[in-house]
Symmetry: C2
Subunit: 116 residues, 2 copies
DNA sequence: TCGGTAATCAACCGGATGGTTGAATAGAAT
DNA sequence: ATTCTATTCAACCATCCGGTTGATTACCGA
């Protein structure tokens, strides 16, 4: 699986999105991260493995805690993809607008072609 | 499921991402969309249902063709989410930098503390 | 009216996903 | 050395997902 797919898939889960949100505030251990949610620590550990696989977080072994750190650069992957097609879709609208303007302009003065 | 999750999930699939990319160029019918891929038309129809559920495309019944149209505004949902936490993560780095600067600044001029 | 074409519906299948519980690992503390 | 704490590994389960094939709907054209 390509990284972009993994990033999108990782953020498709609300719990994982919330974890990412919290990690923008500060690094946190697995159990700290797990505290607010009504699921087992093992489930949270799995979520972290998904986020890690997507490159969104890194875990550094520090004694028996493994503080989780957000790697915000990966966001750029997504924003680049999104912005590209957002821009493209916008340009398409503009082309369409121009086309409509052109058609309008062309048969309003002459009234030659029939486009009713 | 909330829409944001649906949008992320929809774009987690490469085929669907490619369809979205192509729809920024022009609207297309289901079979037109299906042509490049090595899957059945039914599979593509399912993909479209996912994209539609996420609000990324709309389908207007027009004779027996059902042209698919991209609704680019939904991108904003994602960009807003991403940008918010991207910004927040950046600010966190800046806070950290300031903190380090402060610690550095405090014992660099005086050379009182030893932080070799 | 009778095909032909575009698309969806329905049932099924294998693999991924999110959750569980229980056992294992590993460092800290006593 | 033993125990406590943090985390992961492993097996299992239900559900979801992307794909298939076959049947069905709906419109167009001859």
């Amino acid at each position: 699986m390509d990284q972009l797919s993994q990033v999108f898939a990782a953020l498709a889960d609300p719990t994982r999105r919330d974890m990412v949100a919290r990690l923008t505030e500060a690094d946190a251990s697995v159990s700290e991260l797990a505290a607010p949610y009504d699921v087992s620590i093992q489930a949270v550990s799995k979520h972290l493995k998904v986020l890690e696989g997507a490159g969104l977080v890194t875990r550094t072994k520090e004694a028996q805690r493994r503080p989780v750190h957000l790697e915000a650069e990966v966001f750029d992957l997504m924003t680049k993809w999104i912005e590209r097609y957002q821009r493209q879709a916008e340009q398409r609208y503009q082309r369409l607008d121009r086309l409509l303007d052109e058609l309008n302009g062309r048969d309003q003065p002459t009234t030659k072609g029939n486009a009713s």
